[in-house]
């Protein structure tokens, strides 16, 4: 199978959907001739033109509401928010409008929008361009929240998100854009709400999200040389959450470490921990449920400080070893 990058997988999903359905279009800042801040839409403006690849002013409040109005009246817009931190400026539309319109209207109207946005640290962009705020969105009934960790998943999940009749927050990761793997050329769907066990193991389960899936897999590989057999589960979508796959794994291994990049306090890992604690799998635990998340600090600029602010392969390994004692 040909290999493409995460970035190319995201783009390919959008192109295939736009070719298939005239109602699908994309808008965002600098997504036209510039190709997007990270280059995701590169070439799409030339292919589809300015009507369907709509370059917008820097007006997150207007564009995040505009996609809602377009969606309610029959379009299927994709909004590229240049950095996921800018959700702060779009939150009224996402939280007060998109998520609630259908419920407030008693089941009338649909809001099929996808908000694609890159999150995460590690690129040297400092405190206002590096956050992982996905837990905020998971708190709002009416939204679905997706966080793909690989090119294959990104393509299939984005197709599902675009086909979805509800608002979907689609969190990409800056550091994953360049990662490669085999991705089918044809269109395919990974249903929202289906976790995947990325690596089977028997000693301990790591539930990891976003880029932490890749780091956890690396940690698992290194730990296997030390005789520790880790299972890695990637929820892939935070809302809806595939609880069964997580609980099944924890029941099998008896130990669980939840790894996420966002600030540990009130991050989505706390929700996953609670789901496990509240289930009958609790009786199968051989160790307390542990979380490894970001430090409770804004993301700093200095590369070493930035590295220390979020879990890395070595800190994941340390956390596992501590639990295996």
């Amino acid at each position: 199978m040909r290999e493409i990058t995460y970035l190319e997988a995201v783009k390919e999903a959008m192109i295939q959907e736009m070719k298939e359905n005239d109602d699908v279009f994309i808008m965002g800042e600098d997504i036209g001739i510039y190709g997007g801040a990270f280059g995701v839409t590169n070439g799409m403006f030339e292919e589809f033109g300015p009507e369907r690849v709509r370059n917008t002013p820097i007006s997150e409040s207007a564009i995040s509401g505009c996609v809602i109005g377009a969606a309610v009246t029959g379009m299927r817009p994709i909004l590229e928010l240049q950095f996921s931190d800018f959700i702060t400026i779009a939150t009224d539309n996402i939280a007060n409008q998109a998520a609630k319109l259908r419920y407030m209207f008693g089941g009338k109207g649909k809001v099929p929008i996808v908000v694609r946005t890159p999150g995460g640290s590690g690129a040297g962009f400092a405190a206002q361009h590096s956050q992982s705020l996905e837990a905020w969105m998971t708190h709002i009934p009416g939204l679905k929240v997706v966080q793909p960790s690989s090119p294959y998943d990104a393509k299939g999940l984005l197709k599902a998100a675009i086909d979805e009749d509800n608002p979907v927050m689609f969190y990409e990761h800056k550091l994953l854009y360049g990662t490669r793997e085999g991705v089918p050329e044809e269109s395919y769907t990974i249903p929202l709400g289906k976790a995947e066990t990325k690596k089977e193991g028997k000693d301990l389960t790591i539930v990891a999200t976003g880029i932490m899936v890749q780091r956890s897999l690396k940690a698992a590989e290194l730990l296997s040389k030390e005789g520790v057999n880790i299972e890695v589960v990637d929820p892939r979508t935070l809302v809806p959450l595939d609880k069964d796959t997580i609980l099944h794994s924890v029941k099998k291994t008896g130990r669980v470490l939840i790894v996420y990049e966002a600030v540990k306090r009130s991050g989505y890992g706390a929700e996953i921990a609670s789901v496990i604690a509240e289930s009958d799998v609790f009786d199968y635990l051989d160790a307390p449920i542990m979380r490894l998340g970001g430090e409770e600090v804004p993301i700093p600029y200095n590369p070493e400080l930035e590295r220390k602010a979020v879990p890395q392969v070595d800190t994941i390994m340390d956390a596992v070893k501590e639990m295996m004692i």
């Binding site: 002013p57 564009i63 109005g69 409008q97 008693g106």
Partner: protein, 323 residues
């Protein structure tokens, strides 16, 4: 003789709608006082000419977006008062099955994209609805209602700019009722005419007497033609006045009773329109009485429908979140 707008095709139906809105609001106020409606309410008594003047010129496929003070917009766009009343009483037969209440009544089939409880929240959505009209070549216009207070929100400015650069068929209709809750336009806006804000975005802006329905109809007629001829958005500022407070809890300490009296006694949009119709020999006393009688009947039937309707089932709590 008072001039009547040629854009008003059916003056008696127009008058009927204005009186229907006022009676609806008075009934809502009464039911609230009787404890039959809970929560809050934002009455549009005194602002009937804007709602009816605008919506009577819109086609069925044209769309509106309304505000927290939106009962009048709904009625004028063809939303039925019985199901509206049922919604205010929280009943299953209400437009939102009792889940939205006063601030969120929507009737998508009639082109009513819903009232919005966030000040200026409707403007970007209206731009998006107009974008659909443009991209699918559907030919409809979107009229977005909002108040003077909304023009101090960032979303107002961003939405006007976006609609302007994309030349979209949207009408931004500002009901300047002089007060954003307690904040008067004199204190909160440092220009004389809100319509002047259109200049920043390169679109037409006009200030009209929002209590003279003929001025409203003429302005909206021009704006609709402008939009349907692919000339883009218009900002209309209609000067009006809400007779009641912002909501039920408002003691109106921020404005004096003389000012209220002036607007009630001399600038009542319904009294003005009746006077104009009579001057032009379009309306007789008998016809006016007949209109009032029919309005009362329609409101009484609406209340009966609402009171006789069942409460939503508890199971519905978790329904309608996702499509």
């Amino acid at each position: 003789m008072a001039r009547l707008s040629k854009a008003i095709k059916d003056p008696k139906k127009t008058l009927y709608q204005m009186i229907l809105i006022r009676s609806f609001e008075e009934k809502v106020e009464q039911l609230f006082q009787q404890g039959k409606i809970h929560g809050t309410m934002h009455l549009c008594i005194g602002q009937e000419a804007t709602a009816v003047g605008v919506c009577s010129l819109l086609d069925n496929q044209d769309k509106i977006i309304s505000t927290h003070r939106g009962h009048g917009h709904c009625i004028a766009k063809g939303t039925k008062v019985d199901r509206m009343m049922a919604e205010l009483l929280g009943k299953e037969t209400g437009y939102c099955k009792g889940k939205g209440g006063s601030m969120h009544i929507a009737d998508l089939d009639k082109g009513n994209l819903g009232a919005n409880g966030i000040v200026a929240g409707g403007l970007p959505i209206a731009v998006g609805a107009a974008l659909t009209s443009h991209m699918k070549n559907l030919g409809y216009v979107v009229c977005c209602f909002f108040g003077d207070g909304a023009t101090n929100e960032g979303a107002f400015h961003e939405a006007l700019n976006l609609a302007s650069i994309w030349n979209l068929p949207v009408i931004f209709f500002c009901e300047n009722n002089k007060y954003a809750m307690s904040g008067s336009t004199d204190d909160m806006i440092n220009i004389q005419k809100i319509a002047d804000r259109s200049k920043s975005y390169g679109i037409p802006g006009i200030t009209i007497d929002g209590n003279n329905i003929n001025e409203v109809a003429d302005a909206i007629d021009t704006a609709i033609k402008h939009a349907k001829n692919n000339k883009g958005p218009t900002l209309i500022e209609a000067e009006t006045y809400r007779w009641r407070g912002h909501s039920r809890s408002d003691a109106r300490k921020y404005r004096d009773r003389e000012e209220e009296k002036e607007w009630r006694d001399n600038r009542d949009p319904i009294a003005l329109f009746i006077e104009q119709l009579k001057e032009n020999n379009i309306l007789t006393d008998g016809e006016l009485e007949d209109i009032k009688k029919r309005v009362i009947e329609e409101i009484e039937e609406a209340v009966k429908f609402a009171e006789d309707s069942v409460e939503p089932s508890i199971n519905s709590l978790k329904e309608d979140i996702y499509a």
